[in-house]
């Protein structure tokens, strides 16, 4: 986690000094963007822009240190369809990274099945394919930590489709390819919708990948991942839940292999008080992580988290979200308070 925080502040006085100008910038930017909505309304058809600003205050409990992090981000998404052919592209930038997230060329085999070629979101679990960098689309500020440690993109071939049965559908995604630090990835995601016009679904994803590592003593990592996930929406309630099981085989250069498995679960519950105000809470836990040589390579992985928050939607597709959480990593336990402004321009 430490790589995210460039500022170490020891006193409340310093914190106030940092917060003040940052929030001035936020409000000025919000005002400017609100006032420019009309101008943005003339965006080309098919283009979505997701600007955002988030500020985090982290209190490292064992060290009793305060850290502040803030960042602007923008996600540009563009898609077009001509006859049976589709194009989809996405670019994301914040102060940590600038990346062409997706570039895909699609061909409709028929009305319900499409084959894509390019770089796409690996069809794993629920979060990765539904929200990713579309911050405005997700209710919470943070993502489940498990979705951050798995390789999220694949370059290769993706077959996407659905088999409809009465009012329901069995949807599938099958991906084959590779990516940065991944020599090979094979992923399959299946999810069932009882009623295709509802957002409720239950599904499973199975992934096998062979990865490389920056650590000199490691030759490679083989990983098998199974995720069972569900999204249930009824009246004002929404529940997103997933159980993830990962088996990793870390291959060392001295011909020693270390195999281990761990399980991660998360559940997010949301309640819409009205059309503009939503409260939410999320619990994340990891089991058997102590024996995992793979997690030893990821010391910043948040193995347990308790988060609550509130999102307020206002004006033309803008939202303010406040989230408070307690995050536990291998070396520390942090209290985190985050504030995020997000927007959708289309």
């Amino acid at each position: 986690m430490s790589k995210y925080f460039s500022m170490n502040l020891d006193t409340n006085f310093n914190l106030r000094m940092i917060y003040k100008p940052q929030f001035k910038i936020v409000f000025l930017t919000c005002l400017l963007l609100c006032g420019s909505v009309q101008a943005f309304a003339a965006l080309p058809t098919g283009l979505l822009v997701f600007p955002g600003f988030s500020a985090e205050h982290i209190r490292d409990l064992p060290a009793e240190e305060d850290k502040v992090e803030s960042t602007f981000s923008v996600d540009l998404f563009y898609a077009q369809k001509k006859g049976q052919f589709s194009f989809l592209g996405e670019y994301f930038k914040d102060k940590h990274k600038s990346e062409l997230e997706r570039y895909q060329l699609g061909w409709d085999i028929d009305n319900r099945n499409t084959v894509w070629l390019g770089r796409f979101h690996t069809p794993i679990g629920y979060w990765n394919t539904n929200f990713h960098h579309g911050k405005f689309l997700q209710t919470s500020i943070s993502r489940p930590a498990i979705s951050l440690i798995l390789p999220r993109h694949t370059r290769g071939l993706l077959l996407e489709g659905a088999i409809h049965k009465q009012e329901g559908a069995l949807n599938y995604n099958i991906a084959v390819g590779n990516s940065t630090r991944q020599n090979a990835t094979v992923a399959m995601q299946l999810y069932w919708q009882e009623d295709i016009t509802s957002e409720s679904l239950i599904g499973v994803s199975l992934t096998y990948r062979e990865m490389t590592s920056d650590v000199l003593s490691i030759d490679g990592i083989r990983q098998a991942h199974v995720s069972v996930f569900a999204n249930e929406e009824f009246r004002n309630w929404r529940i997103i839940a997933a159980i993830n099981w990962l088996h990793n085989e870390v291959q060392f250069k001295n011909n020693q292999n270390e195999s281990s498995s761990f399980t991660n679960i998360y559940t997010q519950i949301e309640y819409g008080i009205n059309d503009d105000l939503t409260v939410f809470g999320r619990v994340e836990d990891t089991f058997s992580e102590e024996d995992s040589a793979y997690l030893d390579l990821l010391p910043d992985f948040i193995s347990a988290r308790r988060a609550i928050g509130m999102r307020f939607d206002f004006a033309n597709s803008q939202a303010l979200t406040l989230e408070v959480s307690r995050d536990k990593t291998q070396s520390s336990t942090d209290n985190v308070m985050s504030l995020e402004w997000s927007m959708l321009i289309q």
């Binding site: 058809t45 098919g46 979505l48 998404f77 898609a79 077009q80 369809k81 589709s86 194009f87 989809l88 895909q104 699609g106 028929d110 009305n111 319900r112 499409t114 394919t129 539904n130 579309g134 689309l137 996407e160 409809h164 009012e167 295709i196 016009t197 957002e199 059309d275 503009d276 939607d313 597709s317 959708l344 289309q346």
Partner: protein, 146 residues
């Protein structure tokens, strides 16, 4: 006194019914080419599926749905009678689907004349107008009156 009370109660219950079923508040789902729907009227669920971006397996031509936002009351009536959801939820679902699968984002048109022109120039378009406005746009074919 009891009679007066009964009449008043009857009026209270009838008043909203009369308002809802009045011709002024009927919404017409329209297109310029009924062969799009095999010359059949569509039920509400089929219209909702179109607006959520689902195609039927046998559908030959791609159907483009357009949201008529020229009149807030008309848009709200459409949301209540067809989509069963608020405008914000409809936007979230439409954008989330577009963000995930690509394709085409649903177009909003805020002028009924412009919409009627689009409907007449493009035979694959489906949209909705007030039923009372059908007299003005005689080239439009009704898929369903809601």
């Amino acid at each position: 006194m009891k009679k007066l009370y009964a009449v008043l109660m009857l009026l209270v219950f009838l008043a909203p019914t009369t308002a809802i079923s009045g011709e002024d508040t009927l919404v017409a789902m329209v297109t310029s080419n009924l062969s799009l729907t095999d010359n059949k009227t569509l039920d509400i669920k089929a219209i909702r599926k179109l607006y959520l971006g689902f195609k039927s397996a046998a559908q030959q031509k791609p159907v483009e749905v357009v949201v008529n936002v020229s009149d807030e009351q008309l848009y709200q009536s459409f949301l209540q009678r067809v989509m069963y959801m608020s405008a914000k939820k409809f936007q979230r679902i439409s954008v989330a689907k577009f963000f995930r699968h690509g394709g085409k984002l649903i177009q909003n048109i805020d002028n009924t004349n412009e919409l009627a022109e689009k409907l007449s120039s493009n035979s694959n378009v489906v949209s909705f107008i007030w039923a009372k406005d059908l007299k003005r746009y005689k080239h439009l074919k009704v898929i369903k009156i809601l």
